[in-house]
């Protein structure tokens, strides 16, 4: 939490970063949407006569150790990595916000229970919990998504609770309550706006972190299983041939860095803008 906050509050180059971030994500989103319909080779079609082939017209980025088209695999990997990351963050955000708001509004026991649960998850360093879940359940998409969501929700719950508690003390909430407005009205018009403002940048940074986690799990062999074209798994498959096939290796690498960079720049740009507008 505070690490992200510290990272967000900085530099004068924010507007530029924000624009670059939006541009990168727009291109990636387009790739996700139209990529699967482009006239590309089947990402899983093997051609054992043309393994580790150099870039050619048929395979503009060359082929991997099984003769599969790298371009096709990289393009088909986009909706997987990015889609899973966005879904994980969306679910983790909703669950986190809900629990955080319940904790802020509830009595001491609900508050304590929810926050201790968050502490319990945060007691695990980084990916460890996701790694164990994915590993014990044998890899694949569902254990990985459960693991990533599980590690992401506490920061949203903590943020929502902290923001809500501060907001509930403010004069305009008191005024609304005295004016006889309903709980729902206070929630929608007084509580949610500041909470959501904080959420947007945190969630954007969260998508970048989730992409890193997905590719790391894929690289370790505990994420999406082969032959699914996933960037991290592609890199781990190509690793023994890195000296012979640098171009093939570079494609998924660049995709990971570009997408994480896009979400990081957007998230930080948003934080800078929102922090600026608050003060």
């Amino acid at each position: 939490m505070s690490a992200i906050a510290t990272l967000g509050i900085s530099n004068n180059a924010a507007p530029l970063g924000l624009r670059v971030g939006i541009a990168l994500i727009a291109v990636l989103a387009l790739l996700c949407l139209i990529g699967p319909w482009l006239p590309l080779a089947d990402p899983n079609a093997q051609d054992l006569l043309r393994t580790l082939a150099a870039p050619s017209l048929a395979h503009p980025l060359g082929t991997d150790h099984l003769g599969r088209s790298i371009l096709s695999r990289t393009v088909h990997g986009a909706p997987r990595s990015l889609g899973i990351a966005v879904i994980c963050v969306a679910i983790a955000t909703s669950v986190g916000l809900l629990l955080g708001l319940v904790a802020a509004a509830g009595n001491r026991w609900t508050d304590g229970l929810i926050m201790r649960l968050a502490d319990l998850v945060l007691a695990f360093p980084g990916l460890l919990l996701a790694l164990l879940l994915a590993g014990l359940m044998g890899g694949g998409i569902i254990p990985m998504m459960i693991g990533i969501k599980l590690t992401l929700w506490p920061q949203f719950a903590r943020m929502a609770r902290a923001t809500a508690r501060v907001t509930l003390q403010e004069a305009h909430v008191e005024a609304a309550r005295l004016a006889g407005l309903s709980q729902l009205h206070i929630l929608r018009h007084h509580l949610l706006p500041p909470v959501l403002r904080q959420t947007i940048s945190l969630a954007t940074l969260g998508v970048g972190a989730a992409i890193l986690s997905i590719s790391s799990l894929g690289f370790l062999g505990l994420g999406l299983q082969p032959p699914t074209p996933e960037w991290g798994a592609m890199i781990s498959e190509l690793l023994p041939y890195v000296a012979e096939a640098p171009v093939q290796m570079a494609a998924p690498c660049l995709m990971i860095v570009t997408s994480v960079l896009g979400f990081t720049l957007l998230g930080e740009g948003l934080t800078a803008q929102l922090v600026g507008s608050d003060t």
Partner: protein, 328 residues
């Protein structure tokens, strides 16, 4: 008398609170891991005794006799709740059992691999501050300058790069192209340099900015202006009054970075085939060696709690305001 009491309150109570919190953290991780592993062993479809037997003697030499013996030995014929109590009880006594694959005690395997990870973690962490401190300081002392802008740009790029990619780039450059360093494995101290550098670059990508921001904040603080009004030149003022204040957010951040260190070494050790705990964890996960998975997970959780404890203590020592909080 009264004064002594106040003093002991001031120094003791936050200390005890910090230790209690981190102890609870360590116990909680151990309990969750143990429960998770227990649930896994018993939730899988099929006969647990058969699986353990298969892992121990191999599928082809499996007999009903061996399976029955293991069922009795491991208490798999008793009610689930009794088995769970037994499982946790054994853990509480420090008995982590034997590896299903190598049959050696988990504890001795952990002791062997832990020193490689500790060495790598420590080397990577020190190296990261060797890189980040000079860069962060010079960037923070001249915000907006050339060092500041370059280091921030590189830092954002590095922070967006997964650690295995940094590692692959370093291997390609230093081991495959220049042939200066060995690419993987562990025989000499030189084998540690590339993994440590990989870890360090990933860590420095974040800490450079934290150090820079801490320096910028401190330089614009009132007490720094006051020190200069009093007649200290800027350099002396920063050394005497600035360094300690700037150190507080930096040290707090070091603890937060432990999460990254642990993600980092799991991935980096696998990439470099380095015989540490991360490599052990991934190999046990792929082999479904449950006692080993639990042991490795618990030891990593303990290391995380211990690192957090050290960071808390360092902050307490650096920041007198935190010491006073406990007295009120």
């Amino acid at each position: 008398m009264q004064r002594d009491e106040i003093r002991s309150n001031m120094t003791l109570s936050p200390l005890i609170r910090i230790i209690a919190v981190r102890l609870a953290q360590a116990l909680a991780t151990a309990w969750v891991l143990a429960t998770l592993c227990f649930a896994f062993v018993h939730a899988l479809p099929g006969d647990a005794a058969l699986r353990i037997a298969a892992a121990r003697v191999g599928e082809d030499r499996l007999t009903q006799e061996i399976t029955d013996r293991i069922r009795r030995e491991e208490g798999l014929d008793r009610p689930l709740i009794v088995q769970y109590a037994h499982w946790i009880g054994r853990l509480a006594q420090g008995d982590l059992g034997n590896s299903l694959v190598t049959r050696k005690p988990v504890l001795s395997e952990l002791a062997y691999h832990a020193r490689f990870t500790l060495g790598l973690g420590l080397a990577g962490w020190l190296l990261s501050y060797l890189i980040a401190l000079p860069l962060g300081l010079s960037a923070g002392l001249r915000p907006g300058g050339a060092v500041d802008r370059t280091s921030q740009g590189v830092a954002v790029l590095l922070a967006s790069t997964p650690s295995f990619l940094i590692g692959i780039l370093l291997i390609s450059l230093f081991a495959l192209s220049l042939r200066w360093l060995p690419p993987a494995g562990y025989r000499t101290g030189w084998h540690m340099l590339l993994p440590a550098l990989t870890l360090a670059l990933g860590l420095a990508a974040y800490s450079v900015r934290v150090i820079r921001n801490a320096v910028v904040d401190v330089r614009s603080a009132f007490f720094m202006t006051f020190a200069q009004i009093r007649g200290l030149d800027p350099a002396t003022a920063f050394r005497r009054h600035g360094v300690r204040s700037a150190a507080i957010p930096i040290v707090t951040f070091m603890a937060l970075q432990m999460g990254y260190v642990i993600d980092g070494f799991v991935v980096i050790e696998t990439l470099f085939n380095y015989p540490g705990l991360g490599d052990l964890l991934i190999k046990s996960l792929l082999a479904r060696d449950v006692p080993m998975i639990m042991g490795t997970g618990i030891i990593i959780g303990l290391m995380f709690a211990l690192a957090n404890l050290l960071a808390d203590l360092a902050c307490l020592w650096l920041d007198p305001r935190q010491r006073l909080q406990g007295a009120t």
